[in-house]
């Protein structure tokens, strides 16, 4: 393992212009409006680990994922993967080399596979695009190998995506992601569209492949139980900011940020231990007019004047005034400890 993290994300920002059209602005005298989808997010991922981003819809998880792989331009900040900047125009050549090594798995396997292409063509596309394997016979052999790897039969390559179930389609998407011998895979809610028993198959497969090839995952999910199963480290996002980053075990045993505690509390209790759950109040606010100061303050039981006025900086992985000032008890949650 190199001493430098494999993926470094520093102060990443994304602002979307959601203003009304020019004429409306002139007539209604309304100002331009901006939505800060991602607001100063920093984290790093070591080689071979799984870093998970969790949060509710609208928290900016997927926007971060898209910016990391370069599908979406950032408004500010820096992403460096294996020492190569994703932003620096002078590193274009190195970046082209890097592209082959990063792939993405999307949420909906019904939308992410071209319905008019046979599966072997879908999987061979990255191989051809990056010239990973030379010669048609070798490509066919490689596609068969990849299909076997994800638990399908090499003959399945002749089929179209609609002939497969959701879980099998997600296997095809995984095979495609591995086709270019990639080592960094961004998974955006890879199992959210699947049934639990199929989800278990896909999660197990993803873990096996990680061990086999030393893959690094950036794993986006809203399901805390899935994240706990997959992640080495976890970042919790709220309204475009990272409110807590810590080791997976640590986060579930001793969640520190009040929002993390709230999220953990909201997960239905399958063990039926009868643990007392603090009822969650409110919903994620509109990101166009986010609350002042700490954006979580309207839902936070510990909010005070300072929280309403001043945005907290991340100290030791937690961005919360109450934690920094010691106003929140560090007692672990009994049922989860």
């Amino acid at each position: 393992m190199s001493p430098r993290p494999y993926v470094e994300v520093t102060d990443l920002r994304k602002t979307f212009d959601v203003s009304k059209p020019w004429l409306n602005r002139v007539i209604e005298r309304s100002p331009r409006q901006f939505l800060k989808a991602v607001d100063g997010v920093s984290f790093d991922i070591k080689k071979g680990e799984t870093f998970a981003l969790v949060g509710e819809s609208g928290s900016g998880k997927s926007t971060v994922a898209k910016m990391v792989v370069g599908l979406l331009g950032a408004s500010g900040g820096e992403v460096t993967i294996d020492g190569v900047s994703m932003m620096d125009p002078n590193q274009r050549a190195q970046r082209a080399q890097l592209r082959r090594r990063m792939q993405m798995i999307f949420q909906d396997p019904y939308a992410s596979l071209n319905p008019r292409w046979r599966v072997d063509r879908i999987i061979a596309e990255p191989i051809r695009a990056f010239n990973v394997v030379e010669g048609e016979a070798n490509i066919v052999a490689r596609v068969g190998e990849l299909l076997t790897l994800v638990g399908l039969h090499p003959d399945d390559g002749r089929k179209f995506p609609h002939e497969f179930s959701g879980g099998q389609r997600q296997r095809v998407a995984i095979a495609r992601a591995l086709a270019s011998n990639s080592d960094f895979i961004v998974c955006d809610e890879p199992t959210s569209a699947l049934d639990v028993s199929v989800q278990a198959q896909i999660l197990n497969l993803m873990r096996d492949l990680q061990q086999k090839f030393g893959l690094t995952y950036l794993f986006i999910s809203h399901n805390l139980a899935v994240v706990r199963h997959m992640a080495t480290r976890i970042g919790v996002m709220y309204l475009g900011r990272l409110v807590e980053v810590s080791d997976s075990k640590e986060m579930f045993a001793r969640p520190r940020h009040p929002y993390t505690r709230m999220l953990l509390d909201a997960v239905p209790d399958l063990a039926m231990s009868g643990r007392q759950r603090i009822p969650v109040a409110g919903e994620i606010p509109n990101p166009i007019n986010p609350p002042t100061g700490c954006t979580f303050h309207p839902r936070c039981p510990l909010a005070n004047e300072r929280c309403r006025a001043e945005a907290p900086a991340a100290i030791d992985g937690v961005a919360c005034h109450a934690v920094a000032e010691g106003r929140i008890s560090a007692a672990p949650q009994p049922a989860l400890a």
């Binding site: 509710e56 819809s57 199929v198 278990a200 873990r207 706990r228 399958l270 009822p279 919903e283």
Partner: protein, 332 residues
């Protein structure tokens, strides 16, 4: 247990296609008592939603109820003519759908939709119905209901919209509500709020609730009893605590083991090989036999009937009396 509000007996639902007649529901039976929440779980295609739709009389051709009966307060409702059923639906039985955005009409104010529903079922004038609508919105936890009643659905967030849908279902004070995946489109923090709301309303109003979901966690939190469905049949039905913590049917066991939890951090999740069969190719005998690790000769020939075992009903040959002594221990 008191007289059941809804009683489903040996229900069969078929879909007639050009190639074959597909049996989506095959011999489903259960009762739901006043104030009770029955959770129905299973994977996509297990027949959960079709069961709900059959009870509420919303099976459209080419689908049809081909056998069994459905009784509401002791009266058969599965064979009512459409006009009669319209009067029952909404008044006595109501439904909460998965997606709150598509179950509300985007062109009408929330209040108009509530008032229309109330006046359809109850003899009230506009004024009274409006007051009643505000009451309902208060009850489902919408802040400032007298203002929000004049809002359009798009002005509500996902969680608030689902609350409106619940208020709509409550308009005529039904005896029975089918909630079909009511929290699937919502975030976890909001999901918890909606679950506790449904639970509270069911208890306070003494409604029978059928909660259809694929999320075992939601069932564990909300339901009193749970039915695990597989390929149109009930694999196991019983008190929620028993079934969740000590499932007996091999499918139920696999399903529980496949769920990642916050508590245990097992290295690997239990994996059921394969996937649910298509309706056109449900295997002979027990529908679960190709995926079952304990299947024996009989499972491939004869469909298991639900057997009473330890306070629940399990449709599995492993638990039959003569087999019990030999096999049950090895299964555990």
């Amino acid at each position: 247990m008191s007289e059941p509000v809804i009683s489903v007996r040996n229900l069969q639902v078929e879909f007639v296609t050009r190639r074959a007649t597909l049996r989506a529901i095959d011999g489903v039976s259960f009762d739901i008592a006043k104030g009770e929440v029955l959770g129905v779980v299973g994977e996509s295609g297990a027949g959960k939603s079709v069961t709900g739709a059959a009870i509420i009389g919303l099976i459209e051709p080419p689908g049809r109820i081909s056998g069994g009966e459905i009784l509401l307060n002791g009266r058969r409702i599965d064979n009512l003519p459409p006009d009669e059923m319209r009067k029952v639906r909404g008044r006595k039985v109501a439904m909460i759908f998965q997606d709150p955005l598509t179950s509300l009409n985007p062109l009408f104010r929330v209040g108009e939709q509530l008032i229309e529903t109330i006046r359809t079922h109850l003899p009230m004038n506009e004024r009274q119905a409006r007051d009643r609508a505000i009451e309902l919105l208060t009850e489902v936890g919408i802040p400032a209901p007298e203002k929000r009643i004049d809002g359009y659905p798009h002005e509500f967030s996902g969680g608030m919209r689902q609350r409106v849908v619940i208020a709509l279902a409550l308009c005529a004070e039904p005896d029975f509500i089918v909630a079909d995946e009511p929290t699937t489109a919502l975030d976890v923090s909001v999901q918890a709020q909606i679950i506790s709301l449904i639970k509270k309303l069911g208890r306070e109003r003494g409604m029978a609730v059928m909660l259809v979901t694929h999320d075992m966690g939601v069932i564990a939190e909300t339901a009193d009893r749970v039915a695990v469905m597989y390929a149109g049949r009930v694999a196991e039905i019983g008190p929620v605590r028993d079934v969740v913590q000590r499932p007996m049917h091999p499918y139920a066991k696999g399903l529980m083991g496949a769920i990642p939890t916050l508590e245990a951090s097992a290295e690997r999740l239990v994996q059921i090989p394969g996937s649910m069969p298509r309706l056109s190719s449900i295997p002979q005998g027990c529908a679960f036999n190709p995926r079952c690790a304990h299947a024996f000769a009989r499972c491939f020939i004869e469909q298991p009937a639900p057997l009473p075992v330890e306070g629940r009903r399990v449709a599995c040959h492993l638990y039959e009396a003569d087999m019990a002594a030999k096999t049950v221990e090895s299964v555990r």
